[in-house]
């Protein structure tokens, strides 16, 4: 009996055959994927991070990564084309960034989403973004002087701007797809563009200058109707969308008060959506913050003046938000605020009738009023403006 158990135990080791065993140095670790449209299907680009060059590059300032591209009529074929170019086994476990081109987005993202989600190896939390005015594959090629891997530089670019400026919207794959699938909620994507020439940006020489000739820039916000791209909205619009969706960490902007420019920063901007009836919505934006910059003679110790400044701030804010709403309703017809979803929750029966025409008929006609309630609770390290102190 004991012998039999030992025999079985030995078989455990001999018969298992290390089925998914693979050495680390036999893998091509892909950290970024770009998907473009090609003549007869798709062109995919893979950013491979562990090129042997990385070992020496810290000393010599070489580009550490390699980008392979391949085309095919389906994503599977395109990936297969790359596999034949790469000497190592492709490994998708650490994909960090997926860039899609405008054409792909216009056709509908779901066409390529299937391949991304079906791949068992791939994480589902990668950043998804759109390339603006540029081939998506080129985005992966640009090396950044501050971050060693292109995919990392894209991810940190989005994340840091989102954290300190509330400019971009860090939409990872899961939130994008779940929003696109949700009823009455349209997703958004950040977009990235290249400043300068791609050829120069992809060579190591770009790192050697103090002022890089080519760099990646966070661009406008891409708006969608379901999974289909409808247009770009500028960064003010991006901020507004973040405010409406309660996704503000820190927000900075300037406004005018009596012909003087003032800088303002807030960290607790909140929006409350109030559905009056199926055609009327009230959005209450509230928050507080402090003055960043004062241009001109303004006595900030005077509560009356502060009150006036608050009023000017609220008016400015209202104007900005109204402009965005106006664009969303009439130009893009994209319900990124999720009003449709709130309608569905409040009036499920009525929603059933209007949902098919929501984006094109009912959402643009919606009567949206915005109320703002902003307070200034600090003026930074300085009480008055420098000029006021001087006089």
């Amino acid at each position: 009996m004991k012998n039999k158990i030992i025999l079985l135990f030995i078989c455990l080791f001999l018969l298992c055959g290390c089925n998914n065993y693979r050495e680390l140095n036999d893998l091509a670790i892909i950290t970024g994927i770009a998907i473009d449209k090609a003549d007869n299907g798709y062109e995919m680009s893979f950013l491979i991070a562990n090129s042997p060059k990385a070992q020496t590059s810290s000393k010599e300032g070489e580009a550490k990564t390699t980008v392979y591209s391949g085309t095919g009529q389906s994503l599977t074929e395109a990936a297969k084309a790359i596999a034949t170019e790469s000497p190592k086994q492709l490994y998708f476990g650490h994909v960090n960034v997926v860039v899609i081109s405008e054409d792909i987005a216009k056709d509908g993202f779901f066409k390529v989403a299937d391949w991304l989600i079906r791949n068992t190896e791939m994480r589902k939390q990668f950043y998804l973004m759109q390339a603006k005015d540029e081939k998506a594959g080129n985005i992966l090629k640009i090396v950044s002087p501050l971050e060693s891997f292109p995919s990392q530089s894209i991810a940190t670019l989005i994340k840091s701007n989102r954290d300190t400026q509330s400019l971009s919207i860090d939409t990872n794959y899961t939130t994008f797809v779940s929003r696109a699938l949700e009823t009455g909620y349209d997703p958004v994507l950040p977009s990235i563009s290249i400043e300068g020439k791609v050829k120069k940006g992809s060579s190591e020489k770009n790192l050697e200058t103090t002022e890089p000739e080519t760099y990646l820039k966070l661009s406008d916000i891409a708006l969608f109707q379901k999974d289909k791209f409808v247009g770009y909205i500028d960064e003010r619009g991006g901020q507004a969308i973040n405010i409406f969706n309660n996704e503000v960490n820190e927000l900075r902007f300037d406004f005018e008060y009596n012909d003087n420019l003032m800088g303002f920063s807030s960290a607790n901007m909140k929006t409350k959506m109030n559905i009056k009836d199926i055609n009327t919505i009230e959005l209450k934006v509230s928050g507080s913050g402090h003055i960043l910059e004062v241009d001109g003679e303004i006595d900030l110790t005077n509560t009356k003046i502060v009150k006036e400044i608050e009023n000017a701030l609220e008016t400015h804010m209202k104007k900005q938000l109204n402009q965005t709403i106006e664009k969303l309703q009439n130009k893009f017809k994209s319900d990124v605020l999720g009003i449709g979803r709130q309608m569905f929750i409040k009036y499920p029966n009525k929603w059933e009738k209007i949902k098919d025409e929501w984006n094109n008929k009912y959402f643009p006609k919606l009567d949206i009023t915005i109320q703002t309630d902003l307070t200034i609770d600090g003026s930074g390290s300085l009480n008055n403006s420098i000029e006021e102190v001087q006089s």
Binding site: L12, F13, C16, C18, N20, Y21, R22, E23, L24, N25, L27, I29, T31, A49, N50, P52, A54, Q55, Y91, G93, H94, N96, E121, R123, F149, Q152
Partner: protein, 488 residues
């Protein structure tokens, strides 16, 4: 029992024959009138100066008196100066006494012999502990002398309830083995069980406690269940907690039992330093245990099977370091581990004068050069180094070797099955640990089974005034060490 021959001259011949005429055997026959007095001792193991000063002089003095000849045997027995006088009628006991350094006096016409203690001090003095050094605390250690060892314990615990029960083990060595315990604290059943086992041992010789421990109570396992120490204060701590200490003649290491897993993680010094600081040290030790058991296995698992769990930048850094290394990861690790084990073993065997050159060869040549030559990756050296350093934190060599054995099992599991294998092997390890017990004490107490009062001195150490009870899982009779009912 063999009878003692009444004729001294015949007896001398018998003894000499038994010892094969060994040169260090001294058989002196003193003639007192018509009567022969035989004085037998072993030059090599007895204090000959004492024999001349007290026994020889004494015999001379007594035989010079006429009155003594009425009953010479009793006159000798009562008048010679010696602290220990034994009488025996058994000839078969002669070799034991003579070899131990006793002097035997026989008188013509008597079948009884007088045995006097004249043993030479064939041992070193009480020296500082070398294998278990401490910064604060008593520095003395056990020696090879059985009497001194007993004395080192006796002088610490002056209660008459400290009992030593002696058993002789070994057909030829006749080694004295003392079972020490505190009578009204320790569990009597355990002492009987230990005595039974000792009495059943029928072997040529027991030379060290290490020989003895293999005969009893340890189950088949890589981890030791009997603690051996050369520190008298640790032995006394254990006695006070109700444990049993076994002292073996000629061995500076005493055996303590029963033990639980945590006892191997503790040191004597834990009791002499500030409690909360010690608690922190113990947490570190638990951490070190986990690191030393699992690091190489987890490294292998995450680099060859489950790359997905590694953060992006770390994985890329690992992959770049692995570039150009000709061996598979598990072979690389096993190679380095084997080299380290060889280094450790040779460091123990080597005379200390050569130690420095060894460490240069080991650290510089093997470590640095192997990485530079691209035979192993730097990360593998780091993994093996941290594993080895963490294993050196435990001072019991058997415990360290137990950890090593399980580490290799985990490495094998990781090589074939990845992280799932490591988790499965870890479960097997815990199950194995939990199934062990010594003298009915579960090895993983006080955690499994959970004994709440035992937590006061397991990973955390509470201040001594707050620990009222002895460890409950040891099942002693008298539970309280302070406060409560103290049974005298």
């Amino acid at each position: 029992m063999e009878k003692i021959n009444k004729n001294v001259e015949v007896l001398v011949k018998e003894i000499r024959a038994a010892y094969g005429n060994s040169g260090d055997l001294n058989t002196r026959v003193i003639k007192a009138g018509d009567i022969n007095i035989g004085v037998f001792f072993m030059e090599s193991s007895s204090a000959t100066a004492n024999i001349s000063d007290f026994i020889m002089k004494g015999i001379n003095f007594i035989t010079s008196k006429e009155s003594a000849f009425d009953d010479l045997y009793n006159a000798l027995k009562n008048s010679i100066f010696n602290s220990q006088v034994i009488t025996t009628k058994d000839f078969s006991q002669f070799p034991y006494f003579i070899s131990s350094g006793f002097t035997i006096i026989v008188v013509d016409g008597n079948d009884e012999a007088i045995v006097m203690e004249t043993r030479a001090a064939l041992d070193r003095g009480v020296t500082e502990s070398t294998s278990e050094p401490v910064v604060r605390g008593p520095k003395d250690s056990f020696t090879e002398s059985h009497a001194k060892n007993l004395g080192l314990i006796r002088k610490r615990i002056k209660d008459s309830n400290l009992w030593f029960e002696e058993v002789k083990v070994g057909r030829r060595t006749q080694t004295r083995v003392s079972i020490a315990y505190i009578n009204n604290v320790a569990d009597k059943k355990n002492i009987k069980q230990i005595k039974d086992i000792l009495n059943k041992i029928d072997v040529d010789g027991i030379l060290d406690g290490g020989n003895l421990r293999e005969y009893f109570l340890e189950e088949e396992s890589f981890f030791p269940q009997i603690l051996s120490t050369e520190r008298p204060d640790l032995a006394c701590q254990s006695l006070l907690n109700g444990k049993i200490v076994i002292l073996v003649e000629n061995s500076p290491f005493v055996l303590i039992l029963p033990n639980v897993f945590m006892d191997f993680m503790h040191t004597t010094e834990d009791q002499y330093q500030k409690p909360w600081n010690i608690s922190f040290t113990r947490v570190l030790k638990v951490l070190a245990l986990v690191i030393t058991l699992f690091t190489p296995a987890i490294y292998i698992a995450i680099t060859t099977f489950d790359q997905t769990v590694v953060p992006d930048k770390l994985l890329i850094s690992l992959a770049v370091q692995r570039e150009g290394v000709p061996f598979p990861t598990f072979f690389e690790i096993i190679l380095l581990m084997a080299i380290f084990e060889i280094l450790r073993e040779s460091d123990i065997r080597l005379p200390s004068t050569m130690g420095a050159s060894m460490s240069i060869v080991g650290a510089l040549v093997l470590g640095q050069a192997a990485v530079d030559a691209g035979i192993v990756s730097p990360i593998a050296v780091i993994v093996v180094a941290i594993t080895s350093i963490c294993s050196l934190i435990f001072n019991d060599p058997d415990f360290m070797n137990g950890i090593r054995a399980w580490r290799f099992i985990f490495i094998l599991a990781a090589t074939f099955f990845g992280l799932i294998g490591v988790v499965a092997a870890g479960l097997v390890w815990i199950i194995k640990m939990a199934s062990l017990n010594t003298l009915g004490v579960p090895f993983l107490a006080p955690f499994s089974p959970l004994v709440l009062s035992g937590q006061k001195d397991a990973i955390a150490r509470f201040p001594l005034p707050k620990i009222f009870k002895r460890p409950e899982y040891l099942k002693q009779k008298n539970r309280f060490k302070q406060g409560g009912k103290h049974e005298k």
